[in-house]
């Protein structure tokens, strides 16, 4: 067998090293930021912190947690994530179920399908959408953040395929017992599709949590920014023109450890969800991406 030869064994050692190095390289920046956030501010500002905290303390986190602007943005991000995920999942589950019926049950099925696929291929782009949101008087409301991207057509198609793969006998049995479409969806299909729905919900949670540009576009008052937009403005762009020049805010941000703590708290929800996410997503994405 080839894997017993000396040459291949040497390769294997080399290969493991390269792979583990590449893997480590992918998380090092996050470990670095975590180490900085738990360090005392003097060594951090002098750039003495590598991958391990120097003079361990949690001052940056207590400061962050006592910062009302940060807390407000954090709560808005949670609200946005919860509302956005709920709306998206409800809308695509209902539509995905209806589209999973073949055209004998829903004669206009292909019209609906093309109606949705078309929006995947063509869209108006940033400026026409921005003008629309303004004309709808949705500026500075949470609806501007959760509604425009609510219909995730790709995920809807994934759910549709999942429903299609559910045995028809189950539906027929429920039919004979006198169930309608809504009963069949909620009592028969949903319990079976729970793993798929959970996975897509996790994707939606991560997407909503990470979204920042819509906040920048549609929210004028920084006090209504979700966390990602808030951090984008004060940490990345360091644009204080929208914020009232709050002395405390400026003092906080000049501290490297506090910046690091805020970034880490911003990443944390994604890190918490990630173990569950990565268990499923390989399967789900391959399903959509590669067609045999």
């Amino acid at each position: 067998m080839y894997y017993k030869s000396t040459g291949y064994r040497t390769f294997t050692v080399f290969n493991y090293l390269v792979l583990l190095l590449a893997g480590t390289l992918c998380v090092l920046p996050i470990i670095h930021i975590l180490a900085v956030s738990f360090s005392a501010s003097a060594p951090a500002n002098a750039h003495l912190v590598g991958l391990w905290p120097v003079d361990f303390n949690v001052e940056s986190y207590t400061k962050t947690m006592n910062n009302p602007n940060f807390l407000r943005a954090f709560l808005i991000a949670i609200e946005r994530t919860a509302l956005g995920t709920f709306i998206t999942m409800s809308v695509i589950t209902l539509a995905g179920y209806a589209l999973s019926k073949d055209s004998s049950a829903l004669r206009s099925r292909s019209v609906y399908a093309w109606f949705f696929v078309f929006t995947m291929l063509f869209n108006g782009g940033v400026i026409p959408t921005y003008i629309l949101i303004r004309n709808l008087h949705m500026m500075d409301t949470i609806w501007a953040l959760v509604l425009p991207g609510a219909v995730q057509v790709f995920n809807m198609i994934l759910l549709m395929n999942f429903f299609k793969a559910t045995p028809k006998e189950l539906e027929e049995a429920a039919l004979i017992d006198g169930a309608g479409h809504f009963t069949i969806l909620f009592k028969v299909y949903l319990p079976l599709a729970l793993p798929a729905i959970a996975t897509l919900s996790l994707f939606s949670i991560v997407g909503n949590w990470n979204a920042w540009f819509d906040g920048l576009l549609y929210i004028n008052d920084y006090r209504n920014y979700p966390l990602a937009t808030f951090l984008q403005t004060i940490i990345v762009t360091q644009d204080f023109s929208k914020l009232n020049p709050d002395v405390n805010e400026l003092k906080n941000i000049s501290q490297r450890t506090v910046k690091a703590a805020q970034i880490f708290i911003g990443i944390l929800p994604v890190l918490l969800v990630y173990p569950y996410l990565q268990r499923f997503f390989v399967k789900g994405i391959v399903l959509g991406a590669v067609k045999e």
């Binding site: 067998m1 080839y2 590449a22 990345v236 590669v290």
Partner: protein, 317 residues
């Protein structure tokens, strides 16, 4: 006659059949289920398409879309004559082109290496680590990278103490900015990009390897003659479909890393549209640039799709 036939049927079957027919005919619950998605898409998917007409008008917010005057292709002409926008198109194609190349090559090699790992615990650990950056927003990655790549940041201080290199302005000098942007994009995406190749590798017929083994092929020869040829179709598909992204250099990344110092070499179409179109209020011009980008992308996607279909027999539908 009618009554007798009816009476002959078993009552259970009759009502079952009738119910089945009624169910098939009663489609209103299905339409009702589609209604929320349809309304949302009509408003947020289709209405903005109508707003695209402002690219051919001189849009003034107080005149409204219909009240503004037509100017024809004036904004498009301006785009091609204005030196800034020409430079922006070049920057975009260059950065996006490099990203496309490396985002095909690096995951391809990485998948080949990962495929040689026989210990599943190692394989899973590496996969878990390399997929992670893909899920983190560029806001946070941008915050981390600007900190690490600063002239007194950890990367420069390590380069200095190990190799004695003078501080490099990774995000402050045009050419270094392009380098950093491409490298950090590959860093974020390569893990996720391996998934599609790993899936294709799982589909390679094991009997091909067995036959090669019987013929005395080494693992290297097996890789050259079995593994790589079986991945070629998927590489063609990924590569040709990626052509549609040639003017898509990733707004999220550039916007969170760039600064006025590197506008000359690092400004891309999407950031340019945001700054001129929305911040400076030149809605019509911004929309025209956006349309140009979409049209080029769409034409390339169609061409790419046809090539993929010819070379690899790939069909989306």
């Amino acid at each position: 006659m009618q009554t007798t036939t009816k009476a002959l049927r078993a009552p259970g079957i009759q009502s079952g059949q009738a119910r089945m027919k009624g169910f098939l005919r009663r489609t209103w619950p299905l339409h009702l289920m589609l209604l929320p998605a349809v309304i949302l898409q009509l408003i947020f998917g289709y209405l903005p398409l109508g707003g695209l007409v402002i690219a051919f008008k001189d849009f003034k917010p107080y005149d409204g879309i219909w009240g503004s005057a037509w100017v024809g292709l004036e904004h498009f002409r301006f785009m091609f004559e204005y030196p800034d926008s020409k430079q922006v198109i070049i920057n975009t194609a260059l950065i996006a082109g490099l990203k496309i190349m490396f985002n095909i090559a690096v995951p391809f090699i990485f998948a080949l290496l990962l495929n040689e790992v026989r210990r599943s615990s190692v394989k899973r650990t590496v996969q878990t680590l390399v997929y992670l950056p893909y899920f983190i927003s560029w806001v946070f990655l941008g915050g981390i990278l600007t900190d690490m790549l600063a002239s007194d940041g950890i990367v420069n201080s390590l380069l200095n103490s190990w190799f004695g290199i003078e501080p490099i302005l990774f995000l402050g000098e045009g050419n270094w900015f392009r380098f950093t942007v491409v490298l950090s994009d590959v860093w974020q995406q390569f893990g996720f990009g391996t998934i599609v190749y790993l899936a294709a590798l799982a589909g390679v017929n094991p009997s091909l390897y067995e036959a090669a083994e019987v013929d005395g092929a080494t693992r290297w020869q097996q890789t050259i003659h079995v593994t790589i040829p079986s991945l070629i179709p998927i590489v063609i598909v990924v590569g040709t479909l990626a052509m549609g992204n040639i003017l898509n250099a990733d707004f999220d990344q550039i916007f969170n890393l760039y600064n006025p110092l590197v506008y000359e070499k690092g400004d891309i179409i999407d950031t340019f549209v945001y700054r001129t179109g929305i911040l400076n209020g030149q809605y019509s011009f911004g929309t025209a640039v956006g349309i140009f980008k979409s049209v080029v992308g769409f034409v390339l996607i169609v061409i790419g799709y046809r090539i993929a279909y010819k070379l690899a027999d790939y069909k989306i539908f």
